[in-house]
């Protein structure tokens, strides 16, 4: 075991000297995290608010009711409601380029002349919504109008039933009483725990785990480099067990991975405001993730003949697993096959573990830690077999 430490120490010194581990393990992920957080954050911080125009050509009581409800909605959502006088004015307001500084509206509501009378009868009645080039604001407007129309339809049916059963009263007053009847099915909104990582944390964590595989690979690959340079024969001629060589490389790769993760976690927390969560949970996840990376990268290296080949295979595996595991894009949100498939990658488990930690407690990370360890142990055991056989000068 002492020799294993000696080998690990020598290799660590070497890796520090050529700056690749520094670049791959720290500079690249941190640089990308800086860029991602600067481009994605302004968008995350953006809140919904819209501007709506309303044109009342009717002037009747139902139209007045609509305006009142719309005003309430405007106050509730922080949206602007503007009254316009002509259809042309409404259309012009709506017809602006999205995201331009030009003043405009997301949608315009038009209550056509005679709407109130029609609404109070049993005859067909229509109201209009004019939308611009789409977007969230317009969708909300349409559904708002439809909801209002639905309420009116209900009131008409209710008042008609009331009249059919002998009730007799002004339709407007009866309709208003009908609307006061609560809907038989109410919507109870329940707030769920938030286990989704914030944008800042998502990119910090995604990049950290993505590059972790490359950092660990640098460590693993040194075994092949050693064989290539011929120094492996020297090591094997030395009075020690073969496992000491493998253990030495393993220790070194682990240390490289661990140091880079710790630096990244601290740096992204301080610089970009990433929230990694409870340190103990994060530590468990990080250690398990490094073990899984070690196992997988060692297994891949076991199939390569030269260091270059190992580098190629490993980056292929690391990139595919990374993308599939949702480190760059939240693959889980895509749904379907893709979001199930991601769980064949350690990356997905790591991200999920962090999410569960964010919305829960330390024990919540245990399934993810277990999955990561399983990855590491299975691939690691296979790798040991392959490497031991291949451990020839």
């Amino acid at each position: 075991m002492r020799q294993a430490w000696t080998i690990a120490a020598k290799d660590l010194r070497l890796r520090l000297r050529d700056r690749s581990a520094l670049i791959v393990g720290i500079i690249a992920p941190l640089g990308l995290a800086a860029i991602f957080s600067s481009i994605f954050n302004p968008i995350e911080d953006f809140d919904f608010s819209a501007t709506y125009a309303v044109l009342d050509e009717d002037g009747g009581p139902v139209a007045a009711q609509f305006s009142a409800v719309l005003d309430q909605f405007g106050t509730g959502t922080g949206s602007d409601i503007r009254t316009v006088e002509t259809r042309q004015e409404a259309a012009d307001l709506v017809d602006v380029e999205p995201f331009s500084d030009e003043e405009g509206a997301d949608a315009a509501f038009v209550i056509p002349a005679g709407f109130s009378n029609a609404a109070l009868s049993a005859d067909p009645a229509e109201m209009e919504v004019i939308t611009g080039q789409g977007g969230v604001g317009a969708g909300v407007a349409v559904s708002f109008a439809e909801q209002f129309a639905g309420e009116l339809t209900y009131a008409r049916i209710a008042v008609s039933s009331f009249e059919a059963l002998g009730g007799a009263e002004d339709r407007l007053a009866a309709g208003q009483r009908a609307l006061a009847i609560p809907a038989p099915v109410s919507l109870e909104e329940i707030e769920a725990a938030n286990k989704q990582l914030s944008n800042k944390t998502f990119y910090a964590a995604g990049l950290a785990i993505f590059f972790l595989f490359f950092t660990v690979q640098i460590g693993v690959n040194s075994l092949l480099e050693e064989r290539h340079a011929g120094t492996l024969s020297r090591l094997m001629a030395a009075p020690m067990r073969r496992y000491s060589i493998i253990a030495g490389k393993g220790i070194m790769a682990f240390v490289l991975g661990f140091v880079s993760m710790v630096v990244l976690i601290i740096a992204t927390t301080l610089l970009f405001g990433a929230e990694w969560g409870d340190p103990l949970g994060v530590l468990l996840l990080v250690v398990a993730a490094i073990i899984s990376a070690l196992g997988i990268m060692a297994l891949v290296a076991g199939f390569a003949k030269t260091p270059e080949q190992a580098g190629n295979y490993s980056s292929m595996v690391a990139v595919v697993l990374g993308f599939l595991g949702g480190t760059f894009f939240p693959v889980g949100q895509a749904g379907g096959l893709l979001s199930d498939l991601r769980f064949i990658t350690p990356h997905a488990w790591f991200m999920q573990g962090l999410g569960d930690l964010a919305g829960g407690n330390v024990p919540d990370v245990l399934p993810a830690v277990g999955a990561l360890l399983l990855f590491g142990l299975v691939t690691g055991a296979l790798a040991l077999g392959v490497l031991r056989k291949g451990l020839q000068p």
Binding site: S20, I23, I27, A28, L32, I35, I39, P42, I43, D47, V94, E97, P98, S100, A122, A125, M127, E128, V129, T131, G132, Q133, G135, V140, V142, Q147, G150, T153, Y154, R156, I157, A158, S161, F162, L165, G167, A178, A183, P184, V185, S186, L187, E189, I190, E191, A192, A193, N194, K195, Q196, E308, G311, N312, V319, F329, Q333, A334, G355, D356, G359
Partner: protein, 389 residues
């Protein structure tokens, strides 16, 4: 001529390594396909539904919800699963319909459905959709409640008359029309914008890997051996760059044709699009040559290649559309233009959105050529220094 010899050898060596074919052709198409079908589609919010009720009213409600515009509905088998999925942010909201939904309503009692969401703001659009489905469904029931409360008849009588009334009374409807021509961004198809962004990202990223090849050539001593032949440094560099330029070009073409054929992506005027691709590949290979002459070690170059390839692409609008930068973060919009990607994307906008032709893209192409020229000149200067010091 010699540059072609060097380029040919570079290409031949590149082709010998199978993994390169994977990176250049299989991986990008795979990614565009996956991302395109996963995210390129609608950005409509998603509602998960777990329906515990077994009656027709509950089933009707699900149908009504599925018919709501601007929302995707996904059914879930278990409550835990639904809640966990919402918690992880993979759904905007989840709706739980209780076991006794039908029974309670038929008895004339009130019931409720639960809408689970992480935040009210996020679930806003869905919540209003659910509300309107509920309104639609409960019209008759609610009218019966009204009849009962007005004391003109019993709940059962109310149900019956309301049922008849709903046949005779017309619905109040909403007519939606849109003003003006839809422009830009929103007019692009499902894959369009993302295909252009991805193409630029990959062409640049793949080109950057050429830097590792140049580094290897230097480390093998072959670069100095070439220097000892009557071949100027600029020829060596142009040759090494040209090999990879060809790969980048081929890759870009592959992505363009592939997405055109399979997803019908609009690339605009073909001549203009080809010109952008050619010039952009030149920029990529120039950047690679500069990196290859700056660094000593392929692992460093690979790490920095990913940093630069992804980082510049992200900054340049290949991950978040430039128009969003322009609107939300004007400084970022300016910063984006230090990257060649932003200029490439703007050139594509001219073709695709403004229906321009090659001539209209010329200013952008000139700027891109400037990038390529600067990269190559710096690389030649630097390579001469490192090889002869």
């Amino acid at each position: 001529m010699k540059a072609f010899t060097i380029a040919g050898t570079n290409l031949r060596r590149w082709l010998r390594d199978r993994s390169n074919v994977f990176w250049a052709f299989i991986f990008p198409i795979l990614l565009i396909l996956v991302l395109g079908s996963a995210f390129g589609g609608s950005s409509d919010p998603r509602l998960g539904i777990h329906n515990e009720g077994d009656g027709p009213l509950a089933a009707d409600l699900v149908v009504l919800l599925e018919e709501q515009p601007g929302m995707q509905v996904i059914q879930f088998e278990s409550r835990e699963d639904l809640v966990a999925t919402v918690e992880r942010g993979e759904l905007e909201a989840g709706l739980l319909i209780p076991v006794d939904y039908d029974a309670t309503l038929r008895q004339g009692a009130m019931t409720s459905v639960e809408l689970v969401a992480r935040s009210a703001e996020e679930a806003q659009a869905i919540s209003s959709n659910v509300q309107s489905a509920l309104t639609q469904q409960s019209v008759v029931l609610r009218a019966a409640f009204f009849v009962e409360s007005e004391e003109v008849g019993s709940f059962a009588e109310g149900l019956e008359t309301a049922e008849t009334a709903s046949m005779n009374v017309a619905d109040v409807t909403v007519v939606v029309s849109s003003a003006g021509e839809p422009v830009g961004f929103f007019q692009l198809g499902r894959f369009d914008a993302s295909a252009q962004q991805q193409m630029l990202l990959f062409v640049f990223l793949t080109s950057l890997t050429a830097s590792a090849a140049l580094i290897q050539t230097r480390r093998l001593g072959v670069a100095r051996r070439m220097m000892s032949t009557p071949t100027p440094v600029r020829t060596i560099l142009v040759g090494e760059g040209m090999g990879r330029f060809a790969v980048a070009l081929l890759q870009g073409l592959f992505i363009m044709v592939g997405t055109l054929v399979f997803f019908n992506v609009n690339w605009g005027d073909p001549v203009g699009a080809a010109a952008i691709l050619i010039v952009f590949s030149l920029v990529g290979s120039g950047a690679a040559m500069l990196m290859g002459s700056l660094f000593e070690n392929d692992q460093q170059a690979a790490g920095l290649g990913v940093l630069l390839g992804m980082g510049l692409a992200a900054l340049g609008g290949c991950m978040v559309p430039l128009i969003i930068f322009e609107f939300f973060a004007p400084t970022l919009f300016q910063v984006a233009h230090i990257t060649p990607h932003a200029w490439g994307l703007e050139a594509f906008d001219v073709l695709v959105i403004e229906n321009g032709t090659l001539v209209d893209t010329l200013p952008f192409l000139a700027i891109l050529l400037g990038f390529a020229g600067v990269f190559y000149l710096l690389a030649i200067w630097r390579l001469r220094r490192v090889l002869t010091r």
